[in-house]
């Protein structure tokens, strides 16, 4: 049957719309995984090249399109990190990192350090859960791991971060005041 010019123009138009719809999902997830805007740009290119080439293999009966595109994005990021055999760069140490004044107000540097200390496989579940707000079941589908593994990785990630984040003196004071000693309460 073949492709007419009209078919090709239509396909390109639709793919442009698809790119516009999902570019932020891919780019921002990759940025949080890889820690640099340059790497996130590369990831955006590679992920959409792959989407373009293999779109006809997407099977909606096996999951949502967002799950599929997340899986391609996450696999790209994990493979990239594996190939480079490096850990994630702390964002604030990246050469091209110039946060806006508004974001400086929001910055939580102690937390970022704790996040940067996580391994890639722990970091990815944290990003998918606490940035993308995905349910555990979908995270399991994206990473191709059982639900129990998602739970244990999140547990481990937050436990590691909890260890490196000692409660602030203010938090300690609030908790000490709010939670009375058992004996005192009697």
């Amino acid at each position: 049957m073949g492709w007419s010019n009209h078919d090709r123009v239509e396909d390109e138009k639709n793919f442009t719309a698809l790119f516009q719809q999902y570019k932020n999902l891919v780019y921002k997830t990759a940025y949080l995984m890889l820690g640099s805007t340059r790497d996130a740009e590369d990831a955006l290119q590679e992920v959409f090249l792959k989407v373009h080439r293999s779109l006809d293999t997407f099977d909606p009966s096996r999951g949502a399109f967002t799950t599929w595109i997340y899986r391609i994005t996450v696999n790209h990021c994990l493979n990239r990190q594996r190939r480079r055999s490096i850990t994630v760069f702390p964002l604030r140490e990246m050469p091209g990192y110039h946060p806006s004044p508004e974001s400086q107000i929001m910055k939580d540097q102690v937390l970022e350090q704790a996040l940067d200390s996580l391994s890639d496989k722990l970091r990815v579940v944290v990003v998918l859960r606490y940035y993308a707000d995905l349910p555990y079941a979908e995270i399991g589908e994206i990473l191709d791991v059982p639900l129990g593994t998602v739970k244990s990785r999140l547990n481990q990630a937050l436990s590691n971060m909890r260890q490196s984040l000692a409660p602030s003196p203010a938090e300690d004071a609030v908790l000490a005041k709010a939670i009375p000693n058992q004996e005192d309460a009697q």
Binding site: D7, E10, F19, Q21, S103, D133, N155, R162
Partner: protein, 169 residues
Amino acid sequence: MKCHDIRQTFISYLDNEATPLEQLQIREHLAECADCRAEMAILARLQSRLRSSLKAEAAQVEPSPQAWARLQARLSACPIDLPDCRKGLMARLGLLRSDHQTEYKEGASSSNTDQDWSFIAEPLNPRQRLVWTTRWPARGKAHRRSKRELIVKNKPEDDLLDVTSEKGN
């Protein structure tokens, strides 16, 4: 259940991903254990900080305006034979809905993190009774009257996890 064991389920509880049984066990345990209430409060705050921090980081960055042009150039440089089944595929699969969510919904998460956790940090008024009601047969520690007068009732008409407080005598 021991503190170490119950704490393994705190994260999924805060994320609304714990099973009903786990939820019940956690609530029973929290009613008795001040250390675990403090731990739960710290974890809830950590999750909240994580969300804020990740969303703030992501909000600072955008794909470059040249991203599509670069991709288009690469696609043109290496054309591939598209199968016939690809024709109209994106529209057929409904991938191009105009109302599709392209950006993450800020603050739309379905977690317990943003809930009011003051109840686990609030000292119980000795005159106040915390009454847990359940359809399940009362057993173990929760069945006994603790120093804080924790009582498990067995009323079939009560909700599974209905936690209420009432004035003591």
